[in-house]
């Protein structure tokens, strides 16, 4: 409260955040809106449509958290962030959570003081080449000119990979996907490297997609996940378990279609605990009983969100792969709701 009085006029005008308490959850509830940092525009993950409504895989998760906490999936203020601004935006409290394809690494977790609440997409850095380059493996890329999308861990992985394999290369670092894509298509680069999901999304938009291919090597682990500030465990729990709820819902067969029916009560105690008809899990989080049901109601469970935004039915056409449920051979796994 102190500073809202101090910067009185600005606070009255709504230009300085009016209320800041020790807990992010309290803040979000007081402000009635969740401020969620997303990408400025990444196909399938976050982008505004013609009406200015944000859509995408990351966006959908923000909406689920907002629904769980505030009961309204539209009570989200999407803050577009760049590779540079995302961490400071989170650290300074400009946003409450960041869902922007951010790789979980040791230094980000420990040194930059963030808490990654889980992984919502397992990615890895890949290479795209023209088929007529005559290269079948990344180990044959010695001397290649490589377009890199910067601002991420990409350029470090690339340097490590080429050094480890004793190969030379000419780096062409580009900030935005569009310019990198243009350089690659005009032949100014032999190879385009970024996260494999991004490569697939980019390739899907080429006029001659068949003439390009992804090389089999994936040179890094890129577990992408939402993150929150270090040191606010209560809020981290809310975001973490919202993600887990979406994942568990898929595992337990709760979908947007049968949600209403299941919310009435089922034979499966875990579903009941998840949807709040049994036990008091919501209470422990500081939310009400049907928080998870609301989160799932936004766009369905994890699998539905995946299919609707980046799955095989969309223009991007990513297969589940590593992002299948653990029972189907993937890595997506939620701790139990108990």
């Amino acid at each position: 409260m102190k500073k809202s009085i101090f910067l009185g006029t600005l606070a009255a005008a709504g230009l300085v955040a009016g209320f800041a308490t020790a807990g992010t959850l309290d803040d979000v509830q007081a402000n009635g809106v969740l401020k969620c940092g997303v990408s400025t525009g990444l196909v399938g993950f976050a982008a505004p449509d013609a009406n200015g409504v944000w859509e995408g895989f990351d966006v959908s998760f923000c909406r689920s958290v907002a629904a769980a906490v505030l009961g309204d999936s539209d009570a989200v203020e999407f803050v577009p962030t760049t590779g540079k601004t995302r961490f400071t935006a989170l650290a300074s409290g400009e946003i409450d959570m960041l869902a922007r394809n951010t790789t979980w690494t040791f230094s980000r977790d420990v040194d930059l003081k963030f808490t990654f609440i889980g992984v919502n997409y397992y990615d890895g850095q890949g290479f795209m080449v023209r088929k007529d380059l005559g290269v079948a493996s990344a180990t044959e890329l010695d001397g290649a000119t490589v377009c890199i999308q910067t601002g991420t861990t990409t350029e470090l992985n690339l340097a490590d990979y080429f050094r480890a394999n004793g190969m030379s290369y000419e780096p062409v670092p580009i900030e935005t996907n569009a310019e990198a894509q243009q350089q690659y298509l005009s032949g100014a680069c032999d190879v385009y490297t970024t996260d494999a999901s991004g490569l697939a999304a980019t390739r899907a938009t080429f006029e001659d997609a068949d003439e390009h291919m992804l090389l089999p090597e994936i040179i890094s682990k890129e577990p992408l996940g939402p993150l929150v500030r270090h040191g606010d465990d209560e809020w981290a729990d809310v975001v973490r378990w919202t993600l887990n709820a979406l994942v568990s819902a898929e595992e337990l067969g709760v979908t947007s279609a049968n949600l209403a029916e299941m919310s009435a009560g089922t034979d499966n105690p875990e579903i009941n605990r998840l949807l709040g008809t049994e036990g008091s899990l919501g209470d422990m989080l500081g939310l009400d009983a049907d928080w998870a049901a609301r989160a799932i109601a936004v766009a369905g469970n994890y699998g539905e969100v995946f299919e609707a935004n980046i799955g095989e039915g969309t223009a991007i056409g990513l297969s589940r792969g590593l992002n299948a449920q653990w029972a189907q051979g993937g890595l997506i796994y939620s701790p139990p709701f108990r």
């Binding site: 009255a12 309290d26 995408g56 400071t88």
Partner: protein
């Protein structure tokens, strides 16, 4: 008078100039082919122009205006060039960003009022009194664009009145200089502490009188909204039914099209073997068939797309009705929960008092458990922790209460968050706010730089040279990542405000130089005359020097504004969605991924139109203000 018959008595009529010395030929010879070098240059220029157009025209015009996605442009055989559909699709966004459509008139009104506000500055024939409107415009513009309670802007404006009266009262006690300092101090106190309190007090008072009526109005309107939702939802199946029948024929016509293409290919293959084996008529009919089936296919697809669009629109309408209902319900719940919330607040306050009483006085004011001294006992730590928890939820509950009261007691326009700003409107807002706020700062800096006082002069020069020595992009980095670090912990400025602050600081340095130019251009006689009249420094500046210097500086100010307006494109690098930043967002939509030229070209033209007309205006001003010969 002698009779000189060989002398003409009347003038000969004028003969036309020799052919080649008049009209277009003469003009061309003078202006295009006056020498070898000139002729070569002319030809080269013409070749360049023709080449550029030759390359550009087909791309620009063999294009589509209404396709909904880039993929459709690829698939349409008639389109080999640009896909302008993206502009049609996103025009509103490129202009107004995410500002709600129903409120966009506010931006337009603010723009019109802006023209009114700057008119008295630019045209000296208008009545002088209009300058008052100009002075008030920043507050009006703010209230229009951001909305929210009008008490905030009015309170801020009232600060000037407070300062004026404070000056009047104080000057009888402490003299004019003391009064000036005192009134500035009082004004700052007013802005920092009083405005928010007054705003809160008035709004909650209004809210209290309104709550009852609002609850009953909502209760009345909600059933109607529910009916509207069901009605809209009921309309959807009618549209959905239309879709499937339209899908069926597509496969058939596509097959026909493929068959026709195959047939044509076969004919061509035959022709390649033996030219005479295929008659012209057969070839032509095959071609016709291909063409017709292709047309039929695209017609069928278009019909399907149309039906799908209709369904989508219907769904959108349902969605809108649902949202309205949801909002109404939410508001009603909040209003009905107000008494409970107040009770809870009162309870929390009592609890907080009790907990505070129980604590030793040394830790009562501590705001964080980590900053407690080591010698505090565990018990006290625990109760301090409880106290902080209670305090935190008290602040949160107070926030909720304020939000609800703001909603119900709002006098003014619907508040719009800065995150909703974008597109050209945001570029203009940043540019205009930057120039307007930097103007007084620039005057102060320019005077400081001309001052005889060493420290003042050094600080001014240091500031101006520092700002002019670093690129705007580094200052924008400061705005986006560093500015919050310089504020007390936990302060959180809005990003747009931060950008405007940095842009203002940037523009102020350039403005100062422009104004200094104006000051330097004044003949020393003016300064001396002012001194001779016995005016003190501020009077002479206000009455003699500044009016003339600023007039001279206007073209320079317009030039600074043009530069600043162009530079606003850099905010895209820190993630704001100005037109250039929006291109990234638009490409993030899978419909438009990979589209580059159409957007950049459109934005370039948009900026060009603005800056070109402004630069023409500044030239006109320069001519008008020219007093020499």
């Amino acid at each position: 008078m002698s009779n000189y018959s060989f002398v003409r008595t009347e003038m000969l009529s004028e003969l036309p100039a020799p052919r080649g010395e008049t009209g277009i030929i003469r003009w061309a010879r003078d202006n295009l082919f006056s020498g070898i070098l000139s002729s070569i240059l002319t030809l080269l220029s013409i070749i360049v122009v023709v080449y550029v157009f030759w390359q550009f025209i087909p791309w620009a015009f063999q294009s589509s205006l209404d396709h909904e996605s880039r993929r459709i442009c690829f698939d349409d055989p008639n389109i080999t060039g640009a896909c302008w559909g993206v502009i049609g699709d996103r025009f509103n966004q490129l202009m107004f960003g995410f500002y709600p459509r129903s409120e966009q008139w506010r931006i337009l009104l603010a723009a019109v009022l802006l023209l009114v506000a700057i008119a008295p500055i630019l045209f000296d024939k208008l009545p002088r009194k209009m300058i008052w409107f100009s002075a008030m415009y920043p507050f009006i513009g703010f209230a229009l664009l951001w909305g929210g309670t009008i008490w905030g802007p009015i309170g801020a404006l009232a600060g000037f009145a407070v300062a004026y009266y404070a000056h009047k009262v104080l000057s009888s006690f402490v003299g004019s200089l003391g009064a000036t300092i005192g009134s500035v101090f009082i004004c700052l106190l007013w802005w920092f502490f009083a405005v928010a309190a007054i705003d809160g007090w008035i709004t909650s008072a209004i809210s209290n009188t309104r709550v009852e009526g609002q609850i009953s109005a909502l209760e009345e309107s909600i059933p109607g909204l529910e009916v509207a939702v069901t009605e809209q939802a009921a309309l959807e199946p009618a549209f959905a039914v239309l879709i499937d029948p339209l899908k069926e024929p597509i496969d058939a016509v596509e097959q026909e099209f493929e068959a026709a293409e195959d047939a044509l290919a076969e004919l061509i293959a035959q022709m390649a073997e033996n030219e005479n084996s295929v008659s012209d008529a057969a070839m032509r009919s095959a071609l016709d068939l291909v063409f017709q089936t292709q047309l039929a296919t695209s017609d069928a697809k278009r019909a399907l797309r149309g039906a799908e669009d209709d369904l989508e629109d219907a769904e959108d309408r349902t969605g809108a009705a649902e949202r309205e209902l949801k909002d109404a319900n939410k508001f009603l719940n909040e209003l009905q929960g107000l008494p409970d919330l107040r009770e809870e607040l009162a309870g929390l306050e009592v609890e907080l008092d009790v907990l505070t009483e129980g604590l030793p006085s040394s830790v009562r004011g501590v705001n964080s458990l980590t900053s407690v001294d080591e010698d505090v006992s565990t018990e006290d730590r625990e109760s301090l922790g409880d106290r902080l928890d209670v305090k935190s939820s008290l602040v949160a509950k107070n926030g909720s209460l304020w939000r609800i009261q703001l909603h119900s007691g709002l006098v003014g326009f619907e508040p719009i968050k800065s995150a909703k700003f974008g597109g050209l409107a945001m570029s203009l807002i940043i540019g205009i706010a930057g120039i307007a706020i930097s103007f007084p700062l620039g005057i102060v800096l320019a005077l400081g730089r001309q001052s005889d006082m060493f420290i003042v002069k050094t600080l001014s020069v240091g500031y101006i040279e520092f700002i002019r020595g670093v690129p705007l992009i580094t200052l924008l980095f400061v705005a986006s990542v560093l500015l919050n670090y310089f504020m007390p912990k936990g302060t959180n400025f809005d990003i747009l405000l931060r950008v405007v602050i940095m842009v203002t600081l940037f523009a102020a340095a350039y403005m100062a130089e422009v104004i200094r130019g104006g000051l330097a251009a004044l003949p020393t006689g003016q300064y001396e005359a002012a001194d001779a009249l016995g005016l003190d420094y501020w009077k002479s500046m206000q009455l003699i020097i500044m009016p003339q210097a600023l007039k001279i500086a206007i073209p320079g100010i317009v030039g600074t504004f043009i530069g600043l307006f162009k530079d606003t494109t850099l905010v895209s690098i820190i993630g704001l969605l100005d037109p250039v930043g929006l291109t990234i967002a638009i490409r993030g939509d899978s419909d438009w991924n990979g589209i580059v030229w159409e957007l950049y070209l459109f934005i370039a033209i948009m900026f060009w139109v603005f800056t070109f007309s402004m630069s023409r205006y500044s030239m006109y001003l320069e001519r008008k203000l020219q007093t020499g010969h």
